[in-house]
Amino acid sequence: MARLEAVLELADDHLILGHRISEWCGHAPMLEEDLALPNMALDLIGTARVLYDHAAKLEGKGRSEDDLAMLRVEREYRNCLLVERPNGDFAQTMLRQLYFAAFMEPFWKAALGSSDEIIRGVAGKAVKEMAYHIRHAGEWVIRLGDGTEESARRMQGAVTELHRFTGELFESSPAAAACEAEGVLPVRADMRGDWDRVIGMVFGEALLEQPDIPFPQTGGRAGIHGEQLGHLLAEMQYLQRAYPGAEW
């Protein structure tokens, strides 16, 4: 069922990125970021919860939000590769967040007109959150890009590392394409203009250049992930797996 699959793709994007961000907890470079990072993680996980719940109902097999979030195997996760990339340093974490939010903000804005009521509801809240993520992460990209020599080097390193995963954001899986045709979800490719504009503005101030990407990386929507995802899942699923059927 196309809508179920497409909703899971979105849910997985938000959960996995939220999980990655949550790994920073207690280890941020300053106390203010020990507050800001969980904030962003909470936004993402909150959105994921509504989407998994929606997916569970679309599926109609009695599975719960947690069953979908925590009891699938690696090949069944449908998140894009960008969100599963390891945190790396603070520059990579902030850039990854900017890349993602600069896509999701116009996406959710467009989704305000979805024919699916739940999607509209998610969009209303998420569009504001993503605008905040763009602002917060964007400011850091600028500060680090135009900060010290070291921070500029690391920021450019982050671009080299992550830019190749951004193309996948604009690609629609067959399931997503079906939802787009029905007006359930916005057309992913349509976000390109807004994304380019935001990234262009931030990069301009950050003195960064968008690199040429000879080999964009994709595969997440088909469940072909990088090798880090399995390790993330082993942790994330541990209790659910170790105590099958328990309530928490």
Binding site: S22, E23, L35, L42, D66, I142, G147, S151, Q240, W248
Partner: protein
């Protein structure tokens, strides 16, 4: 001496002391030490709970735990700000923590070994913290008292949330119930130690009482905590790991067994299982973040220069 008497008179009249008011050096030092320790405790306290964020058993629990740990960071922030009004910077206090010169609550030197620990910390550790902190909302030093009002509200939310986690486990599968009992066994005594040594052995106490920084003695607060908590454990069907615990009709409270003070002092002096790891983790976060903070300063300076040039 005349100044001291006037100061004490203000205290006795329950007036709030504010940062710009004249105050005895000892009063200032006591507060800097205590508020700093309190702030550090919030910050170090993020680690044992943070240890379970990536393994939280459901999305709801994961979100609640994230929010809780975030709140602790927030408490750290208010408290550092309160201490800063007394003329020490957050940076200085942080360096003292990393150098092992400043203390933080010893409870965070115990490891979190199961999900039940997350519930139990909320229930017992936040519960004990609230007992300590409610009187601090009336502390004579204004900024500290105001910070504590905010902190206490959030802590009691955490305490209820923690209790609810333990309740879910206690009413869950046999394995979950065992997990809950095991956590209670491990955290009970360290929680009692959070109130500090017996009144007879407590330094700093009398003067702090006189200055109304402290309003109840360690043993009074510990008794309140026990009296409040034992019925909660009974309600869950869990047993408090103290064979000598029993209701004392006469004092209308529980008598409890002897606390192992050698364990207390060992952990205070750095010998707990996690002391070394906690400070290492905090220091690593700080050191690994140095380039970020430096870049932020450098960028702010550049921006200021540009702005000036433009004017």
């Amino acid at each position: 001496p005349e100044f001291l008497a006037r100061f004490q008179a203000r205290i006795d009249a329950e007036e709030k002391i504010e940062p710009n008011d004249a105050m005895p050096e000892g009063y200032r030092r006591t507060l800097v030490r205590q508020i700093g320790q309190h702030a550090h405790s919030e910050i170090v306290g993020m680690l044992p709970e943070g240890n379970w964020i990536t393994r939280a058993p459901s999305l709801k629990r994961k979100a609640a735990l994230l929010a809780k740990v975030q709140d602790e960071g927030g408490h750290g922030l208010y408290l550092y700000a309160a201490a800063e009004t007394l003329g020490v910077s957050r940076e200085e206090m942080t360096e003292e923590l990393h150098a092992g010169k400043a203390k933080y609550s010893s409870i965070f030197n115990y490891p979190t070994l199961s999900w039940a620990d997350i519930g139990t910390i909320g229930w017992l550790v936040d519960g004990a913290a609230i007992m300590n902190q409610i009187p601090l909302c009336r502390c004579s030093f204004g900024p500290y008292a105001r910070a504590m009002i905010r902190v206490c509200k959030e802590e009691s939310f955490h305490q209820r949330q923690g209790y609810e986690i333990v309740m879910t486990l206690a009413r869950g599968t046999p394995a979950q119930r065992e997990m809950a009992q095991d956590a209670l066994n491990r955290w009970w005594w360290p929680s009692l130690m959070m109130f500090g040594p017996h009144d007879a052995d407590s330094e700093h106490s009398d003067q702090s009482m006189a200055w109304k920084i402290k309003r109840f003695s360690n043993d009074e607060l510990r008794q309140k905590f026990i009296d409040a908590t034992v019925p909660q454990a009974e309600f869950l069907g869990l047993s408090v790991p103290d064979e000598d615990l029993k209701w004392n009709e006469e004092k209308n409270g529980y008598d409890h067994g002897e606390i192992d003070w050698s364990e207390f002092w060992r952990v205070v002096k750095g010998g707990g299982q996690m002391n070394v790891d906690r400070i290492r983790d905090r220091k690593a976060a700080w050191d690994n973040g140095a380039w970020v903070r430096e870049a932020a300063r450098a960028h702010a300076a550049k921006r200021a220069t540009r702005k000036q040039a433009a004017e």
